[in-house]
Symmetry: C2
Subunit: 360 residues, 2 copies
DNA sequence: CTGAAAGCGCTTACAG
DNA sequence: CTGAAAGCGCTTACAG
């Protein structure tokens, strides 16, 4: 495609010295006008600005960062979603993580920060070194769920500012998450008390996800407390993806296991897979089995029937993650806390409600 | 949420000097083992590695970049998609741009580069300064369609390596795009000759998109050459979004304008909006109006009927964009060329084919 | 208001 | 194989 091994790019490496020479001032003055200081007097300022414009000078970010001890870059690390071959939903929809990242970016721009995005594959044995690599290029890190083991997060957090999203709290980082237990309890009571479903199950997400654990426990406890039977069989283990939800249904039915009257899924993607698998077998939602999700991704309301789910405050989660990280970076906040944002139960039709009035 | 104005973050700013002291060697040796050089002898190497591990040392990327004259970061700038209020498809689906970015990231990781992502809003008057800001933080830039005016791209390309995706060729940058004209001509002939549609129209994308212009021209020319009438009325102006496609249909019908027998849309999103608007009015695709798209985003095959479209080589587009940028950065390639990747006509049902055999 | 100079944390010829 | 030292391109006290 081109000349290999040819001389290095000849993009004239302009520096502040070139600008200073062109403007007939010192580099200190150039730096001052570049940074919008008040002192350079009008005439000096204009000469510098003219030189900058004429030369098309772009200050080197690395040099600025080194001098300022601030890169104005935050790293965002996420798990690369790998389709499981069953459904391509994960690959096609903007998921929870994408939605959060969008908000993070907007918040970051507001403070002059840019986002360094890095994804690690599920099987990535190199996750640790790679994340260390990005850590060196940023002022702080936002780590999505399960990109690093808690002990690694701990270590990393001692050396740089880190905010985890739906992660494990650590003394040196801050975790930002939605309120899992509150909404899950409310959901369990809604299913058992208001709809009167006698048997329920929680279709789990990844076993090593703190959010998943919290949801499972709150749901089961509240369901049992409300008088229902909660099926805790291992078939109800999913993986936060549509394929995992579908597989669980298939496995349960193949085992001749009676389905619970209501299934609360670990997230919306799982619910999506469950609903497809149910439809394939001719089972109706909510008449035969009531289904609920978690997150309220945009696709949730377009399912048939519309999915009852628990809404996470996606915008706030993203904004807060950046905000907290920024405070950590500037030293305005000390780590070691967890920020829990409120969630809300959104009643649509998949739980048995009629979708308009909220109850059958 | 925290103590404002408290002392700056006390994350012990470890440097290579600390590691050197801990290991009892010089900073040169530390640097060498950190960079995997062969020379430090086994014992030295191990002492350094131990010190690095114990201290949890993470080398500063800015300092490395300054010294190496290489940041190992590429910037990706895209237009933030803003829903138009009519449909939320743009906000829910992983679009063409997102799919490309995924591939860019994977390719970048293969070379030890990370991605600095920045989005500019449509109305952003600050696009230029912001992009200059990210340029300073990267070794080179990948610019998606319409983030910068051609003249600005030109200027920027004189100071840093830039690859445009579906942009305007410039002497100092390289443009990577799919073959618009070839596939569009093939599509026009398919519609006019094979299906025998007498009237056609091209529902345009943004007027300032080079891809759009090329598609419009190739389609109209080929359609007319094949003997059809091509409706070039201004109502057929969309905006690459579902809402724009729907609005065009509404406007045409409101004006009492007879719809052409086939409408080739500027991209799949537009086709999606068109199909919805048509369905709302009780018109059938392809029986009443044949519809086609461009891109072949994942959602295309799930439409009813499945969308006939022109597939762009998305993976290759992303990989190539990074690859070319990398060569530009290392000086292995000189700018001033355009790379055109092949596209393919994918016949599904929205054009009138039966979807399985390819023709009615 | 302006400039000379030190320093940010690395890498790498250059000597030894 | 190893270390002392210069240099990467900025910013910012410190003098003037």
């Amino acid at each position: 495609m081109g000349t290999e091994e040819s001389p290095p790019a000849n993009r004239t490496g302009l520096t502040i010295y070139d600008v200073a020479r062109a403007a007939g001032v010192s580099i200190a003055s150039v730096s001052r006008v570049l940074n919008g200081r008040a002192n350079p007097r009008r005439e000096t300022r204009e000469r510098v600005q003219r030189a900058v414009a004429e030369l098309g000078f772009v200050p080197d970010g690395a040099a600025r960062a080194l001098s300022n001890r601030l890169k104005e870059v935050v790293g965002v690390v996420l798990r690369r979603v790998v389709g499981d071959g069953m459904f391509t939903d994960e690959e096609e929809n903007l998921l929870f993580v994408d939605l959060i990242n969008r908000e993070v970016e907007i918040a970051a721009h507001g403070r002059g920060f840019d986002l360094l995005m890095s994804s690690v594959a599920v099987t990535d044995r190199m996750a640790r070194p790679r994340i260390a690599g990005v850590a060196g290029k940023c002022d702080g890190l936002i780590l999505h769920d399960r990109v690093l083991a808690p002990s690694d997060i701990s270590r990393l957090a001692m050396r740089t500012s880190v905010v985890t999203l739906a992660g494990t709290p650590t003394p040196d980082s801050v975790n930002v998450r939605g309120d899992n237990a509150g909404a899950m309890r409310e959901l369990a009571r809604h299913l058992v008390v208001e709809h009167g479903y006698p048997t329920v199950a929680y279709l789990a997400g990844h076993a090593d996800s703190p959010d998943n654990l919290a949801r499972a426990e709150a749901f089961a406890d509240a369901a049992v407390a409300a008088g229902a039977t909660c099926d805790r069989d291992p078939v109800w283990q999913g993986n936060y993806m549509a394929g995992g939800g579908a597989a669980a249904i298939r496995a349960a039915m193949a085992a001749g296991r009676p389905l619970p009257r209501a299934i609360a899924c670990a997230n919306d993607q799982t619910a999506l897979g469950v609903m497809r698998a149910l439809a394939e077998r001719g089972l109706r939602v909510p008449e035969d089995v009531a289904i609920t999700g978690f997150d309220d991704i945009p696709a949730a309301r377009h399912l048939h029937p519309p999915l009852t789910t628990i809404r996470q405050p996606i915008r706030q989660l993203g904004t807060t993650a950046f905000d907290v990280l920024h405070r950590l970076i500037t030293g305005a906040l000390r780590p070691g806390l967890e920020i829990v944002l409120p969630t809300t139960l959104v009643l649509r039709e998949s739980c048995g409600c009629d979708g308009t009035k909220g109850m059958p």
